[in-house]
């Protein structure tokens, strides 16, 4: 039977079959961070077992870290303890750690690709649901729980049933002002926050192919927001060009062999999927979310629905109450309080460049607090080298140090209760950016436009 990209990568990693349809799946790369690893290390210690392959694990501190004064000790005691525990565990078990102060530190899903740790054809896991990001390279990458983190540490394997396959095709050319973030927010708004449950998604079609690696990462990143186990995109020349020469990418003869192998990975023409969806790029406009899950999204010029089959009317009503909004109202031109540009969805150098380009000589509105948090030290370094930091600061943005920051507000970067934040992150759940905070998800361009005008804005009017 003709194989899909997902079949090829998954099947090549099956160690053995288990009763009941489970398989032992070999994991090539394991990324860990401070929040979901301490209990796993404790488990190993309790069982008295070592890491099976410590050279397959890379650690970083990202969720809890401050984005100001990272050279100073972390002031919040519980965060400090968790980050120290990661440092101690990595030292004890011999894991490579890119901790605070290390030039490679950053959000785990930003550093994997930029260092060339992520690559096509591998299996990759992390105790974080946005591990789907790495699927942009044609890797089978997915988030796991802490018990599974411990399993991978101990055996380099997981016990899993193979998910069903889905292909999402997006054909055509994106209009100016419409970006990768808008594609994925649009798709999720069409199928809902549970529409991909049970599936591993391959994104295909000319609109996907035309994206840069950074755009592809944004799309795959939010696969989990439709419930999918992961998302992936066939590797092509764009992929190879991105990876060539990166710190841990294969070199010389190894590179040639790797590329030859990667070229065999795309889905065969007659491969079939358990589900297949088709969307047109022309139908996608700049997107904003209005509710309390990432599926509650709409074009910026549209009105909030008065009825929803996907979310249920009770769910919609509950979301409206939390958000302080009314069914049927527009969001366009509504005043906002905060803008957050960052997170594993949109904190890469291209995102920062796009923001700076759009802002130009304009200034952040007086009523808005706007922060830009680069995804990694490397992104930050590059932004500074290009002078982006100075342009952002001159326009009235704060330019912070790398971390997950206000995406989930585990550090000090929180949005106050009742305030509206246009955010380039991935989740609008109640309390996600701080207790009572009201999140409106959008692309970096739309977020930058909101920062300038102080309102939800159709970015196409500023281009």
């Amino acid at each position: 039977m003709a194989k899909t990209l997902f079949d090829k990568v998954w099947d090549a990693h099956v160690v053995t079959q288990v009763e009941g349809g489970n398989q032992v799946l070999y994991i090539d790369r394991h990324l860990i961070h401070e929040v979901t690893s301490p209990q796993a290390f404790n488990g190993l210690r309790k069982r008295g077992i070592p890491l099976l392959r410590k050279d397959r694990i890379v650690a970083t501190a990202d969720h809890n870290v401050p984005t100001i004064n990272q050279h100073k000790p972390i002031s919040e005691p519980l965060s400090a303890k968790q980050v120290k525990m990661l440092t101690d565990n990595c030292a004890e078990f011999g894991v490579e750690l890119y901790g605070l102060g290390h030039p490679y530190q950053g959000i785990v899903h930003v550093i994997g690709p930029e260092l060339g740790i992520t690559r096509p054809g591998i299996t990759m896991v992390c105790g974080d649901s946005h591990t789907s990001t790495h699927g942009a390279f044609g890797a089978v990458a997915f988030g796991i729980g802490t018990s599974q983190v411990e399993q991978v540490m101990a055996t380099q394997c997981l016990l899993l049933t193979k998910p069903k396959s889905m292909r999402i095709n997006v054909e055509g050319e994106l209009a100016p002002g419409v970006s990768a973030k808008d594609i994925i927010l649009y798709v999720i708004s069409q199928i809902g926050t549970g529409g991909g449950t049970g599936y591993f998604v391959e994104y295909a079609g000319s609109a996907i192919r035309s994206l840069s690696m950074e755009g592809r990462m944004t799309v795959c990143n939010m696969s989990i927001e439709m419930g999918a186990r992961g998302g992936l995109i066939a590797p092509d020349q764009t992929t190879f060009d991105y990876l060539e020469g990166r710190e841990f990418s294969p070199k010389g003869k190894d590179w040639d062999e790797a590329v030859a192998h990667w070229k065999t990975l795309p889905s065969e023409a007659d491969a079939t999927f358990d589900a297949e969806l088709h969307f047109k790029a022309a139908d996608i406009s700049p997107m904003v979310t209005y509710g309390t899950n990432p599926g509650m999204g709409m074009g910026v010029q549209e009105n909030i629905p008065v009825h929803s089959d996907i979310h249920g009317d009770a769910g919609l009503a509950k979301a409206m109450k939390y958000m302080g909004l009314e069914k049927g109202q527009p969001l366009n031109q509504m005043p906002i309080d905060y803008v957050f540009i960052g997170s594993c969805t949109n904190s890469r150098i291209e995102d920062l460049r796009a923001v700076v380009n759009l802002v130009g000589d304009r200034k952040v509105a007086d009523t808005v607090t706007a922060i830009v948090v680069p995804g990694s030290q490397q992104v930050s370094k590059q932004a500074i080298a290009e002078g982006l930091d100075q342009k952002l600061i001159a326009a009235g943005f704060e330019f912070r140090e790398a971390g997950c920051s206000a995406c989930l507000g585990m550090n000090e970067d929180k949005v106050p209760a009742g305030k509206y934040c246009v955010s380039t992150s991935n989740r609008t759940f109640e309390g996600r950016q701080g207790q009572g905070a009201r999140t409106i998800l959008a692309s970096p361009l739309t977020a930058a436009a909101a920062a300038i005008t102080g309102r939800v804005t159709d970015v196409r009017e500023l281009i």
Binding site: G20, L158, G315, K318, L408, M410
Partner: protein
Amino acid sequence: MTPFKKLTSAAVPMPIEDVDTDQIIPARFLKAVTRDGFGENLFRDWRYDKLNQPKEDFVLNNPTYSGDILIAGANFGCGSSREHAAWALGDYGFRVVVSSYFADIFRGNALNNGILPLVVSPTLLDEIFQTIEKDPTATFTVDLEAQTFKNEVTGTVTTFDIDAYKKTCLINGYDDIDYLLSQREKIDAFEAKRLDFSLR
């Protein structure tokens, strides 16, 4: 892992769809470094107000409802992969969560912590909510060995699916890691024959 075989209990109804793991356990409580004590912060921001006073309209604060079974709307456990959500549910005392479907990562995390994510049809889910609405003390019996779910009020018995391996694990309290460690020879053999250039 605590084994699970059979349970008869009243149930707590939560007819809300798309309950995400940020609601089950908010991120600010993820700074703990052990698996214990998450129950007191289960559904923290739905359960308590800003002054840490219980919100009377939330089901866990309503003495009418109790039990070891949580009945929830579709797509329970969506969002973050945090296993802390399963730890919080377990620590609070839930052994079974019933819904018409679960988010994949949560389902796995629950199973790895001795909590049964029991999938029923949307119709049956509605019936269960109706039964509890009429009689909050209504009990239900979950029999994992027989794979049956019984509404003790109506007498309706329905079967549910669970994969054979996971069923054995739950009944015996086995962790996946025990099984994986027993596969060491096969893992070594796999590593030896695998083309390794993808990791060079």
